[in-house]
């Protein structure tokens, strides 16, 4: 009887561990789908942005071509999540450079269409930042579960492997100066 109870308890623990691992993996996939959706929204804006600024930005032609090329790579079907993460980082940096360059062209800065694109991009950036943070938390929970005892044994049997987090850019890594924030 005692042996039976112990066996039942062990089975319940294994089932709970298994379910928790599956839930964590699904949470990562689910949130990645959310990131994908906002990234696509940003990809859709890129052709408009490039066509609006290219007449003015003769000196920055290279960066405009690069962002177009990165976009077409990101839109290809079947690329892995890891590749998407790398491309997102490059696109974020390229778009940042374009926005900085816009500042040097007064006509462009005042252009209604460019202003609208800037607003839309900054809104999408806020959504992407939120999605990245949600994804990183889900990946951290998942990575912890597959590396910590005792779930790591089961995770190993299920062939679960570590997932990569989104690295934040240098600007975002800087400490927030709370004092200055409230003096604003």
């Amino acid at each position: 009887m005692t042996a039976l109870i112990i066996l039942a308890v062990i089975v319940v623990i294994i089932v709970l561990m298994y379910n928790s691992l599956v839930a964590k993996k699904n949470q990562v996939d689910n949130i990645f789908a959310g990131i994908d959706a906002v990234l696509k929204k940003r990809y859709n804006l890129i052709p408009n942005l490039v066509s609006s600024v290219q007449q003015y930005m003769q000196h920055e032609r290279g960066i405009l071509e690069k962002v177009t090329e990165l976009r077409s790579q990101a839109m290809k079907p079947g690329i892995s999540d890891e590749q998407k993460i790398v491309l997102d980082k490059q696109i974020t940096s390229a778009l940042g450079s374009i926005m900085v360059a816009v500042e040097n062209y007064p006509d462009l800065k005042a252009n209604e269409n460019v202003m609208h694109l800037q607003r839309s991009l900054s809104e999408i950036e806020a959504q992407i930042a939120a999605a990245r943070r949600a994804y990183n938390q889900a990946v951290t929970d998942y990575n912890n579960a597959i590396e910590m005892i005792p779930t790591n044994i089961l995770a190993n049997m299920m062939h679960y492997t570590r997932k990569q987090v989104f690295e934040i850019t240098e600007d975002e890594r800087k400490n927030v100066d709370v004092g200055a924030l409230f003096k604003q």
Partner: protein
């Protein structure tokens, strides 16, 4: 917005005549209240002595005499202070609110509707009695804002069928427009579980709370230590709670020194500040001219109205222009 020291100056200079008048009224009311309490106390003691003399025993009737005296005292007190109370609200609180922001309207006897309180989803218990006062509403920097004192209570019965009232929430309830579009619901509650049981067991308890939405772990250790976040959408919760917003809410909690509950629902931010007492009420036993009293009223009014500025709710995101 005027600073606290400017408002204190205003309180003592512009409102000086009204304060003097009210202070005299307060002395008269205080005298009446003390007389009433004295008579009730003496009467109760007389009745108790009479009963004790006739039976030489202690019985349940003594308790009922106490309950009766307290109830009569409570009613009497309210009646005696009602004129002074409304004078105080009209002559002191209303001008103070107008001095802080002209666009705000004050209704001393109105309060935030129960439907809005329940729409926040901040408190799970069924609300059986809902009261409040001191409603302030209007626009600040184009943001619609309203707040009032609220007292929400729950009724329960014990095994002997006696009714008990327990407070669900008492304090300030603030509702304002939020500057981002969102569809779901995000709740920020004081982190009781982690404070009681530590981060590991507390975190486990929170994630298995089936009465709530999904647990949303935030990436700011100080915020995570003070609050627990539940939301219908993991991404949306982080879209609302940026690092800056988390810092601002933490500061709000530290400034008020009270438990705060925040709900983002229906494109509104709703904040409940647990003061456990009725605010903006006049004092009968302390002078209206004392600096602590004045600062108490000014600080509470200023921080409630200043919520729009403090949380930068007026900084509209591009999409919401």
């Amino acid at each position: 917005m005027k600073s606290a020291s400017e408002l204190t100056d205003y309180y003592y200079t512009e409102l000086y005549d009204s304060l003097q008048e009210l202070e005299q009224e307060r002395h008269a009311v205080r005298k009446k209240v003390l007389t009433l309490f004295g008579i009730l106390g003496a009467l109760s003691l007389l009745i108790i002595a009479f009963i004790y003399n006739s039976c030489h025993c202690f019985n349940e009737s003594f308790i009922w005499i106490g309950v009766g005296a307290t109830t009569i005292g409570g009613f009497g007190y309210r009646m005696l202070v009602s004129g002074y109370r409304s004078g105080f609200k009209e002559k002191i609180i209303r001008p103070l609110i107008e001095a802080i922001e002209k666009e705000l309207h004050y209704a001393p006897d109105a309060f935030i509707p129960q439907s809005l309180f329940q729409f926040s989803h901040l408190f799970d218990k069924r609300v059986d009695r809902f009261r409040g006062n001191d409603l302030v509403r209007g626009q600040i920097d184009g943001i619609s804002l309203q707040f009032s004192d609220i007292h929400a209570e729950h009724r329960s019965r014990d095994s002997k069928g006696r009714t008990h009232w327990s407070t669900i929430f008492q304090g300030l309830f603030i509702v304002a427009d939020f500057n981002k579009h969102f569809k779901g619901r995000t709740l920020i509650l004081p982190d009781l579980a982690e404070n009681l049981f530590g981060s590991y067991i507390g975190g486990m308890l929170q994630s298995r709370n089936f009465t709530k939405d999904q647990l949303v772990k935030m990436d700011d250790p100080a915020f995570e230590k003070a609050f627990v976040v539940y939301g219908t959408d993991q991404i949306e919760a982080r879209y609302i709670l940026t690092h800056t917003m988390m810092q601002r809410l933490l500061k709000l909690k530290n400034d008020t020194g009270s438990k705060i509950y925040v709900s983002f629902n229906g494109e509104k931010i709703m904040i409940a500040v647990d003061y456990d007492k009725d605010l903006f009420e006049p004092t009968v036993f302390a002078s209206l001219l004392s600096i602590e009293q004045a600062m108490g009223y000014i600080r509470t009014l200023r921080s409630s109205i200043g919520i729009v500025e403090e949380l930068k709710l007026n900084e509209k995101l591009w999409s919401k222009v």
